[in-house]
Symmetry: C2
Subunit: 353 residues, 2 copies
């Protein structure tokens, strides 16, 4: 990490800026505050492409009429341990915050709850929602349909599948929680964009072209597609996540997925799902957390392969960023700062200081 | 498939043989019949290493006192949408059959249910249990802790993780269901054993040695370990599945996992989890199934990459085997037939005819 080179912005400052930007874009004050809190939380854990980085895109979508700024987010189908939330085309963060609160309340009563969401939008990093149940001594599992299709079925070339993310967060005792957050592709599309910006070639294994051959020039990314992890296994994972988070919720899937970047005024009908699992339904909470600590320490203490300096747990690097950024602020590079200044000018609000 | 070369055995014949073998080994008649039905169902869908192939091992474990033949399988913790089943060290198939029935009944009331199991044993293929909710217009999701550790943490060499499987089964309308059943490793350990038997080298990417270098000689498999799919992603998947199916249920995980083959008399305390999701809690069932059909057909109809003859859906090849084997019987090769004859002799029951 070369974070030392980038200017840091205090968490409060960044949150206040995001909130005033959304308020100026027409979002109600309470919703704007909640959005700011959640986006800052994403940046604190190092989700640099899924936090404030997305603010210019979100504002562009709001201005283009692609997102509803005064939504009526509500439950449209309900069972003791299940619900379907209609997001009324709100910002995805607001929809998922509502969905997770619903899941936590239901899991407290029923032991477990699965809440789906439809008519939503991009909601930031998957881990953000999987982690919300942790404070309630619950495990969180989050699934979503990605907001554009970069993946064909295995053996095919039609872009019918997304880099549909799955995240699972499991609380520990003295150790940081285990937080897995992954797309079923070898590389995220953000990495391709980064290679493009930096004029670098991509390693073999990230993408292939329509000829089935490796594609290593990121400028030609539109001519090919991402490769799934484990070949047909990653394809199956993406499909299953898409069916569970999309089709089950009557949200967009396959050809109905619209590209949120290229079509800023289009409704995405994004689908997500959150599962909350109350630990005490299965095991005494303290015993469970001790056992997770034991598992974490055994893994961290494993004999290392030559060339390995440290063994990380899933979410371990994000946790270190969280500690650093909570203490020292969030790094905002020059390019991002410029784009946020542009947003501020366009919205007529005070820029980030 | 070279199934044409192998003698076929009628489903009923095979089931009757399995049932009389288990009964002779001391298992009650109803349990023996259920085991036979489930193991034959595994073979019908082509799980050749997880059906009757395992009978000699199962009988060896029963004789060694590693499995309880008169178990009291029961719920030890219960919520409206959650339960923990104690398998009392029964055959895993019996424990999971009980757990899935519990999950289906609860999901009918609550919309969704998550049932964990502890003190269980190897239960055959993951898809077997994920598919059970299908007949009730439910989606099934199954997780388990593998019965031996072939995987270290990413960057490490201590064998702390298993090829912990995940299976998801999703019903369609006119199309076969989508059935994903995968371990988070590039190759299953069974493939390594097969290469060993056939005196073949393994491709680079299946295993590495403790030196971190590719291991391609299957005779040296004990000196190395399987590689996870997507590098650290498959490691994270295996860990998370192990925590959810193992630690949450107070079942074996990490160093506590005993090798069921090498220690036939040891209790494995195998952990599993099954989630049943009632479709009607989220969407009209007929509409959902039509949408899944549409998704399946779009994927199957995708433009193909050069060299691809057909695009398969997850579970598609197993479904074709199911149709063929239901009509023509289950192929039993000479080596397997010999080992079943030995079991019959040892138990004093009539062999497979």
């Amino acid at each position: 990490m070369s974070e030392g080179n980038e200017a840091r912005v205090a968490t409060d400052e960044l949150g206040a800026f995001i909130a005033r930007a959304f308020a100026a874009a027409g979002i109600g004050e309470r919703d704007a505050d909640l959005l700011a809190e959640l986006m800052v939380r994403a940046d604190l854990r190092g989700s640099d492409t899924h936090g404030v980085f997305r603010l210019p895109l979100y504002v562009r979508r709001i201005k283009a009429g692609g997102v509803n700024v005064k939504p009526n987010i509500r439950i449209v189908s309900e069972r003791p341990a299940a619900a379907l939330v209609d997001g009324d085309n709100a910002m995805g963060h607001l929809v998922m915050h509502f969905a997770v609160q619903t899941a936590i309340a239901k899991a407290r009563q029923s032991g477990v709850a699965w809440v789906g969401a439809r008519m939503s939008n991009h909601a930031g990093p998957a881990a953000l929602y999987a982690m919300m149940p942790l404070a309630h001594d619950m495990i969180g599992l989050y699934l979503a349909v990605g907001n554009n299709n970069h993946l064909p079925p295995w053996g095919g070339s039609d872009l019918l599948l997304g880099t549909n993310p799955i995240a699972v967060a499991i609380p520990a005792g003295e150790e940081p929680p285990v937080v897995m957050d992954m797309a079923p592709t070898v590389a995220a599309f953000g990495k391709v964009r980064l290679a493009q910006q930096r004029n670098e070639q991509m390693p073999v294994g990230w993408m292939i072209g329509r000829d089935g051959k490796p594609l290593t020039d990121p400028k030609r990314a539109d001519e090919g597609f991402l490769l799934p992890i484990g070949d047909y296994k990653g394809y199956a994972l993406s499909l299953v996540i898409g069916l569970l988070a999309g089709v089950l919720n009557r949200a967009a899937f396959g050809k109905d997925v619209s590209d949120m970047v290229r079509e800023p005024g289009a409704r995405t009908n994004t689908g997500h799902a959150i599962v909350a699992i109350s630990i005490e339904a299965f095991s005494p909470v303290a015993e469970f957390k001790r056992s997770v600590d034991t598992a974490i320490r055994a893994i961290r203490g494993s004999e290392k392969l030559p060339g390995t300096a440290r063994i990380y747990l899933p979410g371990g690097q994000s946790h270190e960023k969280f500690l650093d950024r909570t203490a020292n602020g969030i790094p905002i590079g020059k390019a991002l700062r410029d784009s946020l200044d542009t947003v501020a000018r366009e919205l007529g609000v005070a820029p980030l200081t």
